[in-house]
Symmetry: none
Subunit: 190 residues, 4 copies
């Protein structure tokens, strides 16, 4: 049983898990996820040995999607501020346009089921972005911190911004930019 047959089915399960868990939280029953995915209860376990494994894979999948969005159309040659703005814009719109995925990410982030190893793996993809942000930092005190700190500033402010965007959809773009201003100031962006 090297790799299970259908990549499609694996994706269907992950998609179903996002849908169901956005509503029911990480306590959502695997049976409901299976039904939503259009497969039998038992089949889920040929793709994910345990529910915890599903949760961990899901965490990675969700973080992966976010990363993908942030790199999609990334203006590699552009000035720093523009590049960072691209990342910011992609982040908050990812969350505002796909609230289920984002809800699941929030829940899994604070869940005991996600292993430290998974968290590390999930963070790895964002190294580059963190470093880019760190480059923008002009505030002395913040320059002394690891790039992670700058990256974390972005995540936390972006996440907060998404909340406001979801609460007031008509002022979405306003919040997106207000959030960016706060973020850019926070790191003393040049």
């Amino acid at each position: 049983m090297a790799r299970p047959k259908s990549e499609d089915k694996r994706n269907a399960i992950l998609a179903a898990a996002i849908k169901v868990m956005a509503e029911l939280g990480p306590g959502a029953p695997t049976s409901k996820i299976a039904r939503e995915a259009g497969i039998a209860e038992g089949t889920l376990f040929t793709y994910f040995a345990t529910k915890d494994e599903l949760l961990n894979q899901l965490y990675l999948e969700v973080k992966g999607t976010l990363h993908e969005k942030m790199m999609d159309g990334f203006p590699h040659g552009a000035p720093l501020r523009e590049r960072v703005h691209h990342a910011w814009h992609a982040y908050v719109h990812w969350g505002a346009l796909d609230p289920a995925r984002r809800k699941v990410m929030q829940q899994l982030t604070v869940s005991e089921a996600i292993l430290p190893a998974t968290r590390i793996k999930g963070a790895e993809a964002f190294c580059g972005i963190s470093e880019m942000i760190a480059e923008s930092v002009s505030v002395g005190m913040l320059r002394d911190q690891s790039p992670d700190f700058a990256g974390a500033i972005m995540s936390s402010l972006a996440d907060m911004t998404i909340d406001f965007m979801l609460r007031s959809p008509d002022r979405k773009e306003n919040y997106c930019e207000a959030g960016f201003v706060a973020f850019w100031n926070a790191i003393g962006g040049k």
Copy 2:
């Protein structure tokens, strides 16, 4: 009245819930909470009719503790920056010194069990603080937002800062101040 309902017991249950849920999440069994509180399984339900009610009360209790800490020794007459710094310092040290309470707050914040009404009630106490922060805002774009936005900037950055303080206890104070700098810059504090 026979035996009056004991405030002590109520508090013991809430304390036990914090301890147990910090480890097991909101899915923690009420039986474990009762045992930890030193009471019978059934007794828990004379104080909280359902587990959901316990969760909602707990949310309020935890937010309340945080608010209390932030107002404890508050330098009412001091300059704005000092007052905001007091609030920040109290917030992040509350989280760093009582990680269980803080973990529970994080988990409940994203839990479906917390009713909107509870969230509103929990936020009310922080109005004053949000307004104080909003006063500090000098960035034009951010001035146009509600005080909530400023308050949310603080919460999200403080929360992120706590993570770093917990991960590197020896650099706790360093992170506390670095976080404050980022926050103060974010809102363009004067």
Copy 3:
């Protein structure tokens, strides 16, 4: 603790039990009964040592009420048919006017909680009536049975008749008399 103080309270409990059990069946919680009776949960147990005792007393009370109604205004000197008709009329109207009490009697009659001794005691009061009915029996085969058999014919037909009276309140009296005719024929009443 010879006899508990208040006979009123005892009656309140029995009345409450009837009301609550008519809705919830014999599984009705004693706490609900106590609340309905306007007393504390624990007080119920100074009047009835256990729930089963309450149930048994209730059975007797309900049967007693029925018997009382049947003897109320009983035309002692009247011809047999008239006397039997009085009993019948009282029975079915008791059930039709107090459906809660009657529902409880039905439920307790088939409940495992009612002790044989209680059933016997409850039946004793009806000996006289059974004997009166037995006197009316003119059918040879039925004359050979114990008076109980004649009494049981009456109870079962009366109970059935009550069902119809409750289902069609506007035809109540019609059913009362139709039932009596069936009953009188059944025993070959002279």
Copy 4:
């Protein structure tokens, strides 16, 4: 399909429910029923979604068995009295030979758990029998009632008769016939 849901198992559960509930009433725990049926506690709920559904299905099963017995060997061409006697005989012997089933029917009949829809469905099968009995009715007043009334006279008297048959097994047949005489007279059978 994997393992198909086994009709045998469903029947085993119903049989177990009859046995256990005859002793413990409708309050009998599902766990005891499952054990008696030789299955796991949880398995019961793959066959009956809730205990109430089990109760309702059981009601139908029990009524169905009774109806089956009444129609078994039914002398379709025979004179009316003989046909009615067949039904009566089958009814009371069903109850006398399978007291557990009959006890359960009594209990469920007065239970709040049985839905009106279930009662209607359970009664449908007996329409034909009620009509046959109604045909036998020669008493003017009873002729004006719906066939249900005649059917109800039979049920109530048969049920009473079963009680006597069970209490005095050696006089079983005597009571069967005495009961029939009463019944036949009640409806003024021709």
